[in-house]
């Protein structure tokens, strides 16, 4: 795990949760490293969380992923202390959450964190607008002000006009939008989302994911997102933590998890993922083999021969990418009588892709092209190339050296 404790917004250190009659008495055994099953058999206590350490940074979507029973819902409820830890420390912006008293905890929940629930957690006896304004009502904001604000957020999630409906009159997707609007309405910096989209059908789910990503572009909240769906985790997560039986298996960027699973458990998860959809050009691209910056045709030819390639990527004096050129083309030009054209003029403009293009989209381009596809930013900055060979090896899941070096590039 990277040690970035200085800047982390939320720090979790040595968090343990044991369920049972006398959790603290069991703690030494858990810390000794006895297995969950052994402790359950011997003492009747269930180890919910075992030595969790996390750093969550401001503005990121931090996904905690695990199957049911892995402790992920228990873990997220520790951030706002809906569940009390047995041992450990949780610090949010320097505040030790565990040591807050009842009044301080209420204030903390009102202003620092809000939460979205799997089954929405809406109040069936309040209208949609009252539900959205609930957080503000609890804070004691007067009715006119809170209704006005709730209306804005309802609008932001695309539910304007539903103000006076009751939750039972809305579809699942709409109800969760209300849940999201309610969470955003308190202006809390941190958003806890407990399997927020799991109860929705696939089409609505991906719609909600898009909406969340779009809102996040604008709001830059710190989001802790729980899910059991790896595709969802890879899609929205900036960082993913994988939880198994109350212990962290791996914490890392989506690409790291996909390409370098830490253990057999994560690997089994990753196996079924559609890599072509998740991986992007910047992950698999490599530095171009033959980078031609010279104007001189003969020099270019010499460089190509030296590197044993019959094509090259041409750049002008300002280091801007111009196109691909082949040895044949240069040789023909040299053989022509009269003044030779410049290298830049000869270079052939071929399709390029952007760093965030998914492999799925690159695939057709790459098949049409005889040469590795150049990766170029919107501003014209040349980043690298994606060869067919790399793509095949990454998509096939072969963990060879090439791929490793590609993925580890910053």
């Amino acid at each position: 795990m990277p040690e970035q404790s200085n800047e982390a917004l939320i720090q979790v250190r040595g968090l343990f949760k044991v369920f049972g009659a006398d959790p603290t008495s069991i703690l030494p055994q858990v810390k000794d490293g006895q297995s969950k099953d052994a402790i359950l058999a011997a003492t009747g206590h269930t180890v919910g969380l075992n030595n969790i350490n996390l750093d969550i940074h401001r503005g990121e979507i931090f996904v905690i992923m695990g199957l049911s029973g892995s402790g992920k819902s228990t873990l997220i409820r520790h951030f706002n202390r809906l569940i009390e830890p047995t041992d450990g420390r949780i610090t949010v912006e320097g505040t030790d959450v565990v040591s807050l008293n009842t009044k301080e905890l209420e204030q903390f929940r009102r202003h620092k964190m809000s939460m979205v629930f799997q089954h929405f957690g809406l109040m069936p006896h309040r209208t949609v607008i009252e539900n959205v304004a609930y957080g503000l009502m609890v804070q004691g904001v007067d009715k006119a002000a809170r209704t006005k604000k709730a209306r804005e957020w309802l609008d932001a999630v695309g539910l304007a006009g539903y103000e006076e409906q009751y939750p039972s009159q809305l579809s699942g997707g709409q109800q969760q939008r209300v849940g999201l609007a309610r969470a955003l309405c308190t202006d809390a910096d941190i958003l806890l989302m407990d399997e927020a989209f799991s109860a929705l059908d696939p089409l609505i789910r991906s719609e909600m994911q898009d909406q969340l990503i779009a809102l996040q572009e604008r709001l830059r909240k710190t989001i802790i997102f729980i899910t059991h769906d790896l595709d969802e985790a890879l899609r929205i997560g900036d960082t993913i933590a994988i939880l198994k039986d109350g212990e962290l298996s791996q914490v890392g960027r989506p690409v790291d998890i996909l390409l370098h699973p830490a253990d057999a458990y994560v690997e089994a998860f990753v196996r079924d993922v559609n890599r072509a959809r998740v991986l992007t050009a910047d992950v698999v691209m490599q530095p171009p083999v033959c980078r031609l910056t010279t104007e001189n045709l003969n020099e270019a030819l010499k460089q190509m021969r030296g590197e044993g390639k019959d094509y090259g990527y041409v750049f002008d004096g300002d280091d801007d990418y111009k196109g691909i050129i082949t040895r044949e083309l240069i040789e023909d030009e040299i053989d022509k009588p009269g003044i030779n054209a410049e290298l830049c003029e000869l270079a052939e403009e071929t399709p390029t892709v952007q760093p965030d293009t998914s492999l799925e989209e690159i695939l057709p381009t790459s098949l049409e092209q005889p040469y590795p596809v150049p990766v170029v930013c919107e501003d014209g900055d040349f980043r690298g190339v994606v060869s067919r060979k790399t793509m095949v090896s990454v998509l096939a899941g072969a963990d060879n050296g090439d791929e490793k070096s590609a993925a580890e590039r910053p």
């Binding site: 409820r77 706002n80 809906l82 905890l105 209420e106 204030q107 903390f108 929940r109 009102r110 202003h111 964190m113 809000s114 939460m115 629930f117 799997q118 089954h119 929405f120 957690g121 809406l122 109040m123 069936p124 006896h125 609930y134 957080g135 609890v138 804070q139 409906q165 009751y166 939750p167 039972s168 009159q169 309610r182 308190t186 806890l192």
Partner: protein, 299 residues
């Protein structure tokens, strides 16, 4: 000659010591009621005053005014003309058969008992829902209250407070309060855990959670409890009449002892009419508030 052994005969307590226990307890209670009876009676004075006031109000007001008030209440609670009309017909028949005064007396005592049961039962039910310890203490007490024959607890109540309205009210409340306590507890415990968690996650205080989430969501169940409480209070009317509670119970009691079949039937039917009125009105009210709260698909 067979020798008595614990194998052939249950090893009973000595008759003399059993008598001593009875006497001891009886005397102790008698002494207690003599010493404290009056001051305990004084505690119930406000209740008695209210009871007398309500009964007088119902009896001295002109019958058509009372009927109009009842119909207004029925319509206000149920918003149903059919039900209101049924109530008018039932009360006109009751009055025509000469049972108006007794019906008013019974209605006043039932109203007081119901209000008292709600005022005591809902908070007890809340306490039960909030703490498992409270529940484990209160549940067996409720079991006793519901199964102990009413006559048995009438004895100490009468010894302590004599015969009259207040002991009647106490006996009725003891018998009728368990449903509202049990169902308040149940209703609160059944509130969706996630909704409650949501309230907590947004920083709601325990009071905000109770008043804003738990009670409103438990209301349908609590209303069912109140409905049951009213029904049970009405069924106690005859027994309460044994300790001097005037109303529809007394003629029924009289007809049992004198074998007046028709008189018993008429008064019994009047009790049934009251019961149905209370039941339909409280249920219609509960349904109406519930539909409003839940939104419903027909809205």
């Amino acid at each position: 000659m067979t020798t008595e052994s614990w194998l052939t005969k249950f090893p009973e307590m000595e008759r003399a010591s059993l008598v001593a226990i009875r006497k001891g307890l009886d005397n102790a209670y008698r002494d207690f009621s003599r010493a404290w009876g009056e001051s305990i009676e004084a505690v119930f004075d406000p209740l008695l005053m209210f009871l007398v006031w309500l009964e007088k109000l119902l009896l001295t007001s002109p019958w058509w005014l009372v009927l109009a008030a009842i119909v207004a209440l029925v319509y206000g609670a149920s918003r149903s003309w059919r039900l209101s009309l049924g109530v008018v017909v039932a009360f006109l028949l009751i009055g025509y058969f000469g049972m108006w005064e007794n019906t008013m007396r019974t209605m006043s005592i039932i109203t007081v008992c119901t209000l008292l049961s709600i005022a005591l039962g809902v908070p007890i039910g809340i306490a039960m829902a909030r703490s498992d310890r409270a529940r484990s203490v209160i549940t067996p007490i409720l079991d006793i209250m519901q199964t102990m024959p009413a006559f048995v607890y009438l004895i100490p109540v009468v010894m302590l407070l004599g015969i009259g309205k207040v002991p009647g009210v106490i006996a009725v409340v003891i018998y009728a309060i368990p449903p509202v306590i049990r169902l308040t507890n149940l209703g609160i415990r059944l509130v969706d855990k996630e909704v409650l968690e949501a309230a907590a996650a947004y920083g709601a205080t325990p009071w905000q959670r109770l008043a804003g989430v738990q009670l409103p969501l438990a209301m349908p169940t609590i209303m069912a409890g109140i409905n049951q409480t009213i029904m049970m209070a009405l069924s106690m009317v005859v027994i309460a009449s044994m300790i001097g509670v005037k109303g529809l119970g007394q003629p029924v009691l009289k007809s049992i002892t004198n074998q007046y079949f028709t008189m018993g039937l008429f008064n019994g039917l009047a009790i049934v009419a009251l019961a149905i009125t209370f039941d339909r009105v409280s249920q219609a009210y509960a349904r109406r508030t519930q539909r409003h709260l839940k939104g419903g698909n027909d809205a």
